[in-house]
Symmetry: D2
Subunit: 339 residues, 4 copies
Amino acid sequence: MKIGILSSGGDCPGINATIRGVGKTAINHYGMEVIGILNGFSGLLYKDVIELTDPSLSGILNLGGTILGTTREKVFRKMITSPDEKDREQIKKCYHELNLDGLVCIGGNGTQLTTWMLSQLGLNVVGIPKTIDNDVYGTDVTFGFDSAVNIATEAIDRLHSTASAHRRVMVIELMGHHAGWITLFAGMAGGADIILLPELGYDMEVILEKIKKRMEVGKAYSIVAVAEGIKIPKRKERPAIYFAREIEKQTGFETRETVLGYIQRGGSPSPYDRNLGTLFGGHAAQLIHEKKFGRMVANIRNEITDVPLKEVAGKLRLVTPDTPLVVQGKKMGISFGVR
Amino acid sequence: MKIGILSSGGDCPGINATIRGVGKTAINHYGMEVIGILNGFSGLLYKDVIELTDPSLSGILNLGGTILGTTREKVFRKMITSPDEKDREQIKKCYHELNLDGLVCIGGNGTQLTTWMLSQLGLNVVGIPKTIDNDVYGTDVTFGFDSAVNIATEAIDRLHSTASAHRRVMVIELMGHHAGWITLFAGMAGGADIILLPELGYDMEVILEKIKKRMEVGKAYSIVAVAEGIKIPKRKERPAIYFAREIEKQTGFETRETVLGYIQRGGSPSPYDRNLGTLFGGHAAQLIHEKKFGRMVANIRNEITDVPLKEVAGKLRLVTPDTPLVVQGKKMGISFGVR
Amino acid sequence: MKIGILSSGGDCPGINATIRGVGKTAINHYGMEVIGILNGFSGLLYKDVIELTDPSLSGILNLGGTILGTTREKVFRKMITSPDEKDREQIKKCYHELNLDGLVCIGGNGTQLTTWMLSQLGLNVVGIPKTIDNDVYGTDVTFGFDSAVNIATEAIDRLHSTASAHRRVMVIELMGHHAGWITLFAGMAGGADIILLPELGYDMEVILEKIKKRMEVGKAYSIVAVAEGIKIPKRKERPAIYFAREIEKQTGFETRETVLGYIQRGGSPSPYDRNLGTLFGGHAAQLIHEKKFGRMVANIRNEITDVPLKEVAGKLRLVTPDTPLVVQGKKMGISFGVR
Amino acid sequence: MKIGILSSGGDCPGINATIRGVGKTAINHYGMEVIGILNGFSGLLYKDVIELTDPSLSGILNLGGTILGTTREKVFRKMITSPDEKDREQIKKCYHELNLDGLVCIGGNGTQLTTWMLSQLGLNVVGIPKTIDNDVYGTDVTFGFDSAVNIATEAIDRLHSTASAHRRVMVIELMGHHAGWITLFAGMAGGADIILLPELGYDMEVILEKIKKRMEVGKAYSIVAVAEGIKIPKRKERPAIYFAREIEKQTGFETRETVLGYIQRGGSPSPYDRNLGTLFGGHAAQLIHEKKFGRMVANIRNEITDVPLKEVAGKLRLVTPDTPLVVQGKKMGISFGVR
């Protein structure tokens, strides 16, 4: 059997661990031939590939980024959805010219949708969910999330001393366009006093009350963690800048913002993410060996398993008011900006 | 309601996060009065306690160690098992003089056993599992484990460059008297070539073959991760020293050992452990509120729940050949020292 | 002898190590009595002080922030420069009511100026330079700088993987209103391709050329490190945002910005800063013991010494084209944005 | 001009930064041709070399280990000191067959001695000092030292919580066969209570007194940092094990040891070491360009300069009782184990 592996979408710690997991399992356990497809789905079109051997997969377990490169797959997806049958034939032709018996696609929500479309074209595909945002539907957790939470929490830890020295409010904006998972987990782990998530919305009065009350009872400072995807009046403004300005204006307390940005995506994956990527990769190789195509690898209730791409592709997994960490945070007196 | 919290047994990152989780939930959500019992069970006997308020629980979420202190509970447990009824009456007397409606005991296997014994004496107790070793029966994971795996993995990461520069074998000994969880998770995350666990045993021939074969195919070096609890001929010798000496003697390759030791127990807890401790603490407070005593908080299949102390106390959770990370490691060509 | 210690100005890793260095040396070696003055110079006016003993100084060596608190000293400095003699008498009165034989003031450029003014009022003062920016005149290095460079470099390290995965330009803005030291040191240590410093200015054409040339020769991405104090057309805009927008517009390459912000000030000091703070603190205690007042502790050519506040107060130490790291960077092909 | 670069001796963070510094300066500034000589001096004999270009030197700045490999140079040095003239001719022949105009040798004390011997054979050599131990004579600091101190200090930081939880004495053994620099700097930065250095010796009575006195005045625990090179009765025993056993036996306090070992050598260099390596590398390229051979690059009083190999080769730089950090430590009440 010959399989291909590709990574697509944004950078995320643990992609290389996952590629290694697929590759070493396929080669050493199933005796498969393995190629790496470069720069996401575009490498499939241009047949831009490299051979992957056991030695070539050594030493990448703890590397950030992806040895295969990645791109956004917009052009590629348009080919699939194009009314012109030729486009789809072109994709199939490329796939078959590579003599692939299976293709593992590592990526986030967009990639899982594209992978499902390829499955409908008759390609033997398996998806592996990857995103620091943890918002891929069908799996409880994606690799990259734990690493991002670690970086974000360390940043909040650092803000504590600075905030305390000056009796300040510090607003930190964390990644998450649709889902507030990073902000929830890092906010709780970092001891934020107010945690604002796109899914729960916010009431500015509640936020201001909380801050004033903290200052009244003598708390030296307040930390606000906010997800980048939260809706604010001006669409183009950074949420951290908006909230910092409003809080300072309406409470009179000195307020400063930090936008953590891309450093949440980079660097060496955490041990948790390396092991999750390794297990995901191994399971993908097994699915191909067993010819179970059209499925996405998943971690459900702490078990490595798989779900039909058909049922999960394109859907988002979001925080709800029932999410245990939200419920627990409320009990402890942490504000989520809503009554 | 008035509750007490104590920590017992070895140091472990996340105890303070857990104390905070119990205390802030009890105070802010359930309106309980909370005291901290100092130095483990001995503080119960000597009524050595401090009041815990919401402000006194601020700023400890990311601190290593325990603000309540801890001790080994041997003397205390002997009092419970003593044939002299007076000893048991003494314990009950102390508990009642503190006017406690509930007592939360944070500790490892030994502590859970003691907690269960207290339950049998009629005390209203709830246990929270704590150990870096992750070997508490009845829960899939304990706080402290993720932090220990992070430290151990970082150490293995560092050994890679040193080993590579000299074509060496590096043996690293990690904590785990009975259970190899840290060694398994850090070994896999750190890219160890050979992982030796107390539960699986080892065959020296298999180890030597693996090392020789790696050198034959041109791999520059080998990394061996071994749990301290593995059985070796001389009982008093350090496993790392034993394996390093044997490997060097029998393969001729320069071999060096590292015993990571107590630094695995110390320092700030990982975000994962902080959140796990927070959720565990909150659940313990809820159990006391609901008067569900004699139970241990647990994480089972990624859900925070609880189990009867009666069924779990004193039992160990160990690695088995079916543990997914072992199965996956074998598929990838990692040696567990057994055929 | 009785001495006071205060910290003033922005937060900076290593203040507590310095306070401990002054205090433990004063108490254990010189047998002095030591008090901590809270919240900067304002604590002097309000006689808001705490006693500092050897045990009270234990455990703070590696803590971020300052156990004494800090404030901006604007009000206080106005009192000194006020035409009304009463204000100055008030300050002297407070100082004498505290029965101080000497006062150690830990702070940045502003604080050193204030300290010098106090010296002119006849107070027995010694200054210790503190700033992450490393721009205090009269010393080669200040504590806090190494810690800030470590944090900034780690952030640049993380950007490499993210940039590489997408063939992007990443712009990172680092602290430094007047001086580019953090950006120079972290930029060089992080392997930035373009380093923009307030002291050297920039020519947008040079920057664009460099980026285009890198892409032409097949370099996958470019990293631009820019100090917050660099002059850009719109005064209120963030430099990172300005450069990212211009680069993307004028080269067509996808460009993203990161503003690292306050996390550069927080957290545990690096070992280097802890030792520098300890040595600075010890030297300050010695100066007071020797009644050498009106001086600032300094590190000059790697020796702990002191300089007259008169000669250094209020002056800035800036990067020049001759700074060795600039010269070396240019030789290696790194662009400083100027011809 | 054509130059060669080699690294020799033990692993040390910053070698790659230094190779990059030499190479990029030589190529981009001086227009030299550059080759890398593999596996230390043995690559010179076997003409085992690779071409180094600007792109091949990208991405290695923050990597641990050395892209050129390294070996102990014993065999090679014997050839130089052999009575047989042929051996020396062989070395010169190899050097000339590589058409080298200069050779940069990166290594510790042993390497500097070998480099000096090569100079006496008429080869155009320049040495760059490299060692985590910081004991190369002729330079105030070597790259690798700051990184090792960071790792060692972090380990001591971790021991504090564990020691405090149990009222323990913790003994940590750090690297340094001859010189106690790592132990001195990490011990001071980590807040060790007793610091034992090979250069100063120790009096067991002084150590025991200190520990007992700390416990008497209510200090919860004690931390002892000891350099591996300190002399103890049994030559083959680990100093940490010796001191832990003696302290426990003679004071009755529970005492545990940690031997940090090889992890002090591994991993990514600190920003300080990256910049020092970069500056050292650039200066070496300049020396070759200026045909100033037979010299070792050095950092003297914070200036990058160079010294004659003749005067420094084979000598050690050691801690003395006058070393500022020792003097300051004593003033603060830290014990160095001597009266």
